[in-house]
Every structure is written in C-alpha cells, then in structure tokens.
Symmetry: D3
C-alpha cells in the first residue's frame, strides 16, 4: 500500500466532508450577506465559491443580501440627504430609486456574476419579481417607503430551486397596489427562510456572534435569546438580527446562525465542522 504524504491530506479533507453532506443534502439554507463580506474583494469571491459548493453537494441555497453602505454612497453622489430614524433608513421616493438601483441593479447582479463564474447557476431577483415579497407600509413610525413583510410567495423560489437555480434576492417588496418599498434585509431573510421551512438561516455579519460578558456564546435556545434581549445583553444592531432569527424559528426554521463574515470561508467552516463558528440559536 503506497502512502504519499503531501497529497493524502487533500483527499482526507474531502472525505471528512461526507457526514456533513449526508446530513444536509436536500435541505434548504437561507444565507443573509451583509457587512464586510460584501465589501472585500477576496471575501466576496470566497462566499461565491462557498455557496456554489454548498449547492453542488445538494443543499438548496437561497441568498438574501443587503447593501446599506453602497446605498449611502450613491445617495451622497446624487446629493440626496441620508436620514436615519432609530437606526432605520428613512426612504423617500428618490432614495427608493437609489435603493432599487443599488440593491437590484448593482449588488444583486455582482453577486450573481461571481457565483456563476463557479458554475453556480445563480438567478438574481427582487421581492418585486413574481410578487415574491408582499409588504405593507411600516406603520410603527414614519420611515417613508419602508415596508413590513406580510407574505412571501415561496412557490416562485421553490420553482427556481427545483429547476437547479440558486436564487439571489434583493430585499425590496411590493404592496397590494403595486407600490415598491424598501425592506430590512435581515427581516426579509428571516421571512423567506420561514416561508421555505429552511433548515438553517445564516446571518453573515461583521461581528463574531452574540456576546455576553465579553465572551462569545456559541449556542442559544429561543428562550435564552429572548432573555438576553430583555436583560439588555443583546443590544443595538444585533437586536433586529436576533428578533428576525426568533421569528424565523417560530415560522419553522430549525436553526439560525450568526457568523463572522470576516473569517475566510466562514460558511464552509460553519457547515463542515462540528464546532462551527459564531452563535447558533435553535428552536425549543
């Protein structure tokens, strides 16, 4: 029996992936892109590889992306005022056009392009297409044309998945009169994951996970997460993520992961290693 030291490593790694493939094939994962992972050339390329690889081994992948920084940047170039109300972008009609252009035109197509370089058969759509994300005007405060998700038309996404495509979704929605609205990407991802009964919803962010007392928490139940919000341990921008996570779990998603998109191939590490990275929140 011949042994070739240097080369064997490679095959061993591939083989170690087998039990994870066996566990997840045929399942649906919704991946929310955001933050650093959308800005660094190397990370963008790696995430494209990662989702393609996951699709190839039989996992149904749906990508939902944000794009806040680019929206702000183009708004400035167009001399539009950027206004935030309690951390949410106030979206007037002109800003909505920028949102639409940057999300559905620029970022969406760039992600699609990168995935397709690796043979990933990505198709970029928005919540407007096929009436995918139905919303109503957000009414808890006046944010202009910001919508609250009412309903997700999952049959269109399932149709794309069944035909072997990898949907990449820009978080814009449409109300029953055909008016277009800006939608929070975290919330859209949660609603889509819920509508698809996803096995996993993964938030790729710029932090390493949920933290308490300066320590990363790797595992949380729904109840524990609720407590951490109540007692203030979870705060700031982490709140909408965790709340979307909790809603997604309620809607049937099995597990939500908050992972650090700044780690190279964080998605693969999360899927193909036992320890994972970041924080997972599981249904009770």
């Amino acid at each position: 029996m011949i042994s070739q030291f240097g080369r064997l490593r490679k095959e061993d790694v591939l083989i170690e992936a087998l039990p994870f493939i066996q566990q997840f094939e045929g399942k649906t994962f919704v991946i929310k892109y955001g933050g650093a992972v959308m800005e660094h050339e190397v990370l963008k390329s790696m995430v494209a590889q990662d989702v393609t690889l996951l699709r190839k081994i039989g996992i149904n992948i749906v990508v939902v992306h944000g794009g806040g920084k680019e929206i702000t940047s183009y708004s400035q170039k167009l001399n539009l005022e950027t206004k935030f109300v309690n951390g949410q972008r106030y979206t007037d009609k002109e800003t909505l056009s920028v949102v639409q252009m940057v999300l559905a035109g620029l970022i969406n197509k760039d992600i699609v392009r990168r995935i397709n370089i690796h043979g990933g058969r990505a198709v970029g759509v928005s919540g407007i297409d096929a009436g995918l994300v139905n919303v109503k005007k957000y009414d808890k405060e006046d944010l202009g044309l910001v919508g609250e998700v009412v309903d997700v038309n999952s049959s269109f996404v399932k149709n794309l998945l069944d035909n072997g495509y990898l949907p990449v979704i820009a978080p814009i929605g449409v109300d029953e009169n055909g008016t277009i609205y800006n939608v929070n990407a975290d919330i859209a991802a949660g609603a889509i994951a819920g509508a698809l009964d996803a096995a996993k919803l993964v938030y790729m962010t710029d932090i390493d996970g949920v933290r308490a007392n300066d320590k990363l928490i790797s595992h949380l139940t729904e109840r524990e997460a609720e407590e951490l919000i109540e007692n203030g341990t979870i705060s700031g921008g982490m709140i909408p993520k965790v709340e979307s996570a909790l809603e997604a779990l309620d809607a049937g998603v099995q597990k939500v992961h908050i992972v650090d998109g700044r780690i190279q191939h964080a998605l693969l590490l999360e899927i193909f290693t036992k320890e994972g990275v970041g924080t997972e929140i599981v249904a009770e």
Copy 2:
C-alpha cells in the same frame, strides 16, 4: 330575442378577438420596449396591460427593454461624461455601473411592478442571471465595455415561460470570465427571439414604421429590407433595428414588427387587427 344596444358592442369586440387568439396561442412573442413607451405614464401602464392580456390568452410573452434616456440622465446626475461613438454609448467601468443600476434595478423592476398589478406574473432578470446572455467584447471599434451577443441560454427563459411567468429582460451580458457588458437592446431582443424560435419579434419605437418616399411601408420581405438598407432608404437609428430584425428572421423568427409605441395599445392593435400598425418584415 333581446337586443341591448350599448352593451352588445363589448361582447362583439371580445368575440372578434377569437380568431387571433386561435392563431397565436402557444406561440412566443418577444417585445422590445423603448422610446416613448418607456416615458409616458399612460403608455407605460397600457403596455403593461397589453402584455398581461396577451399572456393570459396563451401567448408566451418575453419583454426586452432599453433605457438610454434614464442612463444618460443618471450619468449626468453622477457627473459622468456621456460619450457616443457612431451612435453607440461608450461604456467605461463607472458608466457600466450606471447601466446596470438603471436597467436591471430601476427600469426592469418598474416594468415588472406594472405588469404584476394586472396579475401578469412578471419576473425581471438580466442577461447576467443564469448566464442568459453570453457576450464577447465588441471589437469592431472601441466602445469600452460593450458586448456582442455570442449565445443565448434559452432554457432558462423557456423554464420561466413553462412555469407561467412572464420574463422581463434587461440587456446586459456576461463574458466567459464573468465580466459584465452593456448590450444594445435591439440586438439583444433579436438574439433572444432567435434563440426562442419566436413567432413574432415586435420593436416598439417612436416612429410609425419603415418609410420610403414619405410613405409608411406596411409589409417588407427580407430581401426588400436588405435593398432598402443598401439604397439608403433605411438609415440612421432604423438600421440596427432592421438589421437585428433580419438576423432574427435568419435565426428562425417568423415575423418582425416595427410599431409606433406612441399609439395607445399599439400591441393589441398589431395582434388583434388584420391591418396591424407599423411595418412587418417577414422571412422569405
């Protein structure tokens, strides 16, 4: 037998549509939007109604749209220089971003939104999605990131049609390295119609058709059209349209129509009346 004068008109009109429905059901029409039909609110709404109606009566409708004016307008707002070489937009990297944003983000989604108000199940995609429009760099002169269509992946469009969706396509393409290119919308529409073996390719423009000696020509064979180009009767912006028409006819399209988009419901008039509107060019 009761006769109700005012009301009967309505039913008669519907019934007169029957032979046209019978003739075209199951066929594929590619509609190229451009010019006035993309600018006037009333016309935009009417075209949305028209394509929805055509889809509902069993015609497979594919929409390809342009967006030159909006691209120029946003380029100016962003202080980008607009440069034309022999009538074609020179597309540098920054302009390409504007092209992508305006076509795939703004106009595409607005058309989709309008069609879906009427129940049309439109899905907006670009030539990047699912590798739909494969191009190479246009090399007859230096136009920057302008692509020449090499191949259309018709299986993705057919898949959408077979599942009851109405594809709306932004004319951007991708080369084999994943680089994005601007593509002439007339040419893209012709290539897509050819790849789909469309029964009709309809160019909606701002003129009333092909003219010779100040008279509208309502019918042309391929050969006649070629002669009119050679002897200079067809000139200017009409040339790429007629040339795309001729290429589409070569690729298997049965008939190409050049109709005046400024006429209200020009599409319905073209389909549902014997005389039609504008100019038709037919395969030999």
Copy 3:
C-alpha cells in the same frame, strides 16, 4: 401621442376584460345549455364563441346540455307516444333510444362541431362514457328509465380539462348493472358542478332570471332562495333549477347563475361585466 378614435374603442374593451380574466383564470365553470340558446342558429353560434373564448383565457369550461324539444320532435316522427308525469318525461325503452340518439348523437356533436370551428378543442361525451354519471332508478314516482344521480366520476372530466379539452356532456347515466337512464339535465349539471368544485354553475334558460312581484331579483343567498320556494314565489320549471342550484352550492359550488340565453353573448356579459345579467345565488 396619436389618437385614433374608431379603433381605440376595441383595445379599451379588451383591456377592460383583464381584471375579470385575472379573477377567474384556473377556475371551473359548468354551463348548462337549454331552451332558446339551443334552437336559434345565431344564438347557438354565439354560445360556441363565448365558451371557446372563456376556455382560451384560462377558465376550465364544462358544458352540459339538454334537448327536450328535439327529443319530442323525433319521438313524434317515430310515432312514439310522449308522456309527461309531473312535468318529467316518462321514458320507456324506445323513448330512451330516442333520448340517447338525440342527446349523445345529434345535439352533443352539433355543439362540439360549433365550438371546434373556433378552435375550442371540444370533446363530446355522455354520462355513460368512462362511467361518468352513475345513477339509480328514480323511485319517487314511476318515470320508467329515468335515473337519479348517485355519483359523478370527476377524474375523467378533470383529465380532459387538464389536457386542454372542453368537455360537452349529454345527460344520460348508467347504473351499476350497466343499464342506461335518462337524467334531468339541470340536475346533472348541478351534480357535475358539485363534483368539480366549480366556481360557477350557469343555467342558460328562456327567462330573464328569478322574479318576485314581477321584478327580476339579481342576487339571492341560499336561505333567501329556499324561502322563495317555500312561499311559492319560485314555482314551475324554475323549481328544479333552483333546487339543483342549492344542491350544487351545498356540494361546494361557489355561485350559481340563472341567465337569459336569449340575450346575445349572455355568458360574456355575465362574466365580463360587474352588473352581470339574470339572477345569482350564492353560498351562505
């Protein structure tokens, strides 16, 4: 923007049909033909056009027809005695042959022929074919070979609809021993509509609808209809229609219409106008 007075009317009418198409596509309508609509050449032709048009815009159409006058006429030509018991035809063996011949041979094929002229893909069958209408001998009084519907084999009709055919059904049934029976067409239509969970069951008759105090009633609930039968407002030949209507509503039909077949294109008016014609009876 060009406006062409005479011609624009046409397109407007077509477009006005859109919301109705949107509302009804994919739904099933059962149309019961009878009376004048089966005798006047012009009306026969119009109904054929109407059902074809409805089928083309995506409504599943099933036609059930009667044929009393022709049966009586052929019975007389063949010197058979015509006998009615409480308004129902007494059907002996020889009369049953006439019923079978006139309904399944003459009228059924004539309706099919007329629909197919317009491309309607009609297929004429009877309750005998594929065991479509299962009956037992009517036993409330002796009407000879008159059957009471026991069961409708809807899978055969659904199969025809799913394959794009328009079933035209002659109301004859068969019992478990294979004996053929005459079946009241109104009742057959109701049973078939119920078995198909039809959205609409339309009775085309020779009256303008249900009347009370010499006024046409355009809308009735189930309960109101029952009361009108009890208090004698509804009487005579209208009773079996309304009773079949009520049974069909019980079986899951959403709405039953009684419309005046003498009005030209009454079916289109009923479907494509808000006010409709005749009387509608709706489930509670």
Copy 4:
C-alpha cells in the same frame, strides 16, 4: 405433489396466454366492429369482454364501429329514402342526422356501456370530437355528405390510451369548415390504425376471411393481396376492407386481420392462439 384434474385445466389455459401477453403488451390494436358481431346479444357481450381483457393485459385497444343496418332501419322508420351509389350510402342532410344519431348516439354508447360493465373504462367519441377525423367531401362520385379521410388527430386518441381509457370511435368526420360527413367505417379504422402505428388492425366481419377457389387463405402478403384484387379473386364488399388494409399497412400498421365475428371470442382466438382465425395480411 397434488394434482386436481378438473381445476388444473383452468390455470394451464391462463399460463398458455403468457407468451402472447409478452409479445403484445404495450402494442396498439385497432378493432373494427361490424356485421353480426353488432347484432347478436351474445356476440356483443363477448366482444365487450374480449376487448376489456386485451386492455387489462396491457394492449392499447381502439374500437371503431359501423352501424349500417341500424341506420337503414331508422331511416325507414323516419320515412327517409335509402339510396346506395355503387354500394355506398348516399347521404343527404336528413340521412346524415340519422347517421350521427345512430352511430354516435345509439351504437357507440351501447358498445361503451357493455365494455364498462367489465371494467373496461371505455370512452365513446366520434371523429368530430377534438377534430379527431378530418375529412373532405368525397369527390370521385356524388355521394352527398360522404367524406374522405384527410388526416387523423392521433394525439387525442393517444392521450385517452395513455390515461388508461379505451376509445370507441363512431366513424363520422368533419371538414375544415366544420361540416359533418359520413365516413366509411372500414376506411376510418384503417386511417386511425395508420395514424397510431398500430401493431394490428382487426376487421371483424361476417365472413370467415379472404377466400380463393373456395378455400380460406390464412396468410397474404401485401403484393399477393393486390394481385388477388387485380385478378378478381377478391371482389364485392371485401374490396374496401382489403384496400383499407393495404393503406393501413402502407401507413405503418404491421398486420391486418380479417376475422369471422360470428365465431365466439374470435378476437381472443386470433390473439391467443398460434394458428389464429381468418386471414392475415402482412407488410412486405
């Protein structure tokens, strides 16, 4: 090993059928009924059993029937003159109604009824339904409304077969204007068999097969059959059968059988015994 004399016969017979089942399953047989087999109660019942059995063991069965005697009988009852031109019924408008009524209404449904008693899932249609048999006016002599088969819409018949139904077809046709015509049943059966690429076309007649010098010929090639027509050995009513047979063979049918319908279970004997009954004509 136990042996039970009386009972074992039964199983042996069933088992002897196996090689024939193996040979024919998935194949299509077109059976033309006519003559005695349509008049005697016992024979009618047996043929119904036979075709049901053949269908159950996996053979696609299509029945085409005639009805000349009944047409003549009803014409007489209705005081219509019966006129024959060179052995073919002259069909005026009133006679056509009788043809339609007797074939599509009376005989067709009676055959369907009998087959369905045995679970055969028969569906009775005519050449009018779904535009099944397209004809033009027969123009070699004036026979009134007699049609010549132009085209058979086999997709409708295949659709019925694929869904497990047993089509029973009345030989009436329709021209491109929707006019109904009487069609010779032998010729219709041949055309239908050709359109379906049938493995067998079986004519059930009142004679024991093709005879020469008073002896039954059990096997003929196409060429031999042509010679026997030319030299006058085949004559009279046998000519249209053999000519239809030859046309069917040309159209792709593999074998045509002319069997004596007066023999009980003649169909089963033909299929399940090596020697068969009657005459077979085979493609060269």
Copy 5:
C-alpha cells in the same frame, strides 16, 4: 353462429378471469416463497409463470423468498456447524456469509432468472440494498447475527414497482452501523407487506393451510387466529407464519393467505377462483 367445441374452452377460461382482474388490478400482493415450491423444478417454473402473469394483468407483485434447506446444505459442505435455538438458526459470522451467498447470490438470482424467461422484468435485491430492511439485533435470546425488523424502506420497492419491475427480495437486513443480519423470511415478508399496504400477503408453504381437528380451516378472522394460537390448535412452524400474518394485518394488509405450494399453480387458483385454496386470515 359457429361453435368449435375444443377451442372455445380456452377463451371461456380467459374470460372467466376478467372479474378477478378487475378486482385486483393496481393492488399489491406480497408472495412469500418457501418449502417445496423452491425445490421442485416443475413447481419453481410454475410459480415463475404465475407471478409473471399476475404482474402482466396489472397486479404489483413483490416476492420474498427463504432458503433454509440450501443454507444447511452449503453449511455442511463447508463443514460449518448448523445450530438451531428454539427452531431458529443460530447465525455466527461464517454462517452469515453462507446465508448471504445462498439467499442473495444463488436462490434470489435463480428466481429472477426464471421469472425473466417469461418476460416478468424481475429485479433481485436484498434487504441490504438501498437500506431496504433495517434491523436491530434480535435480543430475546442469543441467535448470533439474527435481526429483528425495525423499519422497511418502502420507497425503493415502490419505485421499482412504479417503473414496471417485479422485486424479488432476499431476507437479509442491515442495522444502523451497517452490520448485516439474517432475518426470518416469514417475518420479513410480513413487514414488507405492511409497509406497502399490500392487499394480499400469500405464504406458500408445504402444508395445505391452518388445520383444526384434522380439518382445513379456509377462513379465519384475526381474533379467531389469536384464539387458535392461545388454545394450541396452531403450533410449531405455523406459529411464526400466523404471527407474521397478524402483524401484517395490523400494519394495514387486507388479507393473508396460507396456501399449499405443492399444488400446481396454487397462486392462480388462489387469485382466480372464488373458493381459493388454503386458509385466509382477514383483518377484523
């Protein structure tokens, strides 16, 4: 009408089969082979014919076979000790190899070969293939590698049936670690029949059925069978058969038959005659 004495018998027998075909087509029968039927050349050939015929007339047939005698014979040839514990074979590792070889290699393929001679499209598999029979170690006494059925993966068997194949199954199972176990064939047949919701489970044995007071009992209800076990009327090797029968009935099988495989064509007699052979046990 001609009558041919000798030949007509044949057709009559075939026709007598029709009501049974009608009753059972589309149903699933699981046939357990064992005993004499696996040893005598003539019987083996007959059973192959029988199951093929049943498959051809539309019954879904699944064969499960034993092979005890051959296992013992090969064990002896290989000088392995044969040990029985309370009537069940103690299966050490070497014996398991013999079990596997004889059942899956020798007997399974011989049955497949015989069925395929008659066109039966048999496919031989074992409980190991596609994880068909999941077991755990039998733990009521130490029998070595003998497994108890935990679960049957019916989707694989249904897939074969739906594609027109006739599965022949060797009773070996596999536990969750991939260890192979010997499984009692009667019990395996019962579990498979239950998982398939079979209409019939037929045990072909070497006795003529269940007997009480020296008389064959032709019909038993579940409760009666339980009583006969309790009061000792049913004893010995009949107990596991009847117990498997009762479990199969609990799992949804409609009827269990215990028939004498020594009777020629016992299966056909059981299916195609009213009286049947042997004992049937029916669900309450």
Copy 6:
C-alpha cells in the same frame, strides 16, 4: 480580516474541488473494482467513501466489481477443482454456483453495505436482474459457462441513477434461454460504460498503470494503445483491460483510466487533481 491558520487549510481544499465538480456534474463514471482494493479493509472502506462522495457532488456512479480470489477460495473450501484456460476461469455448473454466490451474494452486498454506511444509496444487482447483461456462450475456446456480452439493458441502470441510486453490478449474464453465465468483469464494465455513454471508465487495479521501458505512461491515445499491444509492450493481464478500454472508447466512452487501487483514495486523486494517477486512454 481574521486568519486561522490550521483551519483554513480545510476550506481551501474543499474550494479547490469546485472546478472539478463543475466539470463533471451530471456525467456518468463507471468504476471497475478489483484486486487489492477488494481485499484490504482500509482500502475497501476508502473506496466506499470515494464513490459516495462522487455521487453526492452530482456524478452518476456505477460500480462493477470482480471477485476472483474469493471465488477460488470458496471453490477450494467446497473441494471444486479450479481450472484456468489461457488465464480465464473454466466455469462448470458447480463453479458457476460459486461464482454466483460469491459475486452476487457475498461481495456485491458487502460493497453495497459499505457505501450505504456513508449514505450512498447503493443498490446491488447482477447482470441477471432486469435482463441487464445479455450474453451468449463464449465460443472462441471452451470455457464452460462463460459468456460473451451481446447487449446491455442500460434503461434499468439509468432508471436507478435517475432515481438517485448508486448501482453496484456483479458481472454475471444471462442468455436468451435464461441460462446464467460467468462474465469477465473488465469486459462487463467496458460494455456497461459503452451502453451508458460514460464520460469515464476507471479500472482500479493492482498495478500503477500502463508501463513502457519501466516507466509509467500517463496518457495514451487509442492508436498508441493499439500499437503497444501489437508490439508486445502491453502484455499479460493488462491486455483484456486495455482491450475492454478500447472497445468502451469505440462505444462512446470519453476516457478510460487505469489507476492503482493500492493508493489511498486513488479515485479522488484521479478526479480532483489535474495530474491524476495512473494511465488514461482517450478517444481519438
């Protein structure tokens, strides 16, 4: 951007697999097992992992196995004489039983079991099942019951692949009378690969490839391989492999690989590295 040295290696390896996955997904590979890879516990387990992994990433895998050593071993235990004629096993009736038992019963099920541990959905069949490998008696010399492949029924294998199963095939065949024959595994693998239009046929052997002048040849065209046979460079047991390879290439296989099964994960190295291992022979 965080970098975690030790862990990143893993993800990089997975990602390096992407272009190979992209290249091969949807293709069919036939793997012939033999020699050392069937004897060493560790290698057996690794090959099971490898084929499972290849199946999971979308390659259609078919395994064909040999088993010569085990056949010889069991023949000896059963005191059967082992006779070779020109290197091929003389197979008398008793030896054939051993062949059948060892290949289809012992080795086939062991391979299936090992693959299924990793979730590979393997199904073990032989050339007898569904008439998969049709043979006639080998007649170039008298080898007893040794068959020459006449025809492969690829529809059964395709059916298994299409339903997500991984076929493992024992090389036994059946002639038109149902007689079973021993078949050379290399030749069977070649014939099966040809019938499936496989992209690759991989022979896993005990040598490191084809050698000339003591050097491994990594690439050969068909013509070069033929020359090496003619000039004696290729000799001995390598001849049937290379000849089967050439026949498979003639039948449409794109590439044949001869790889050293003694290398751990040789299959993965062959598929996922550019250099590969062993010798490849390509179609001209």
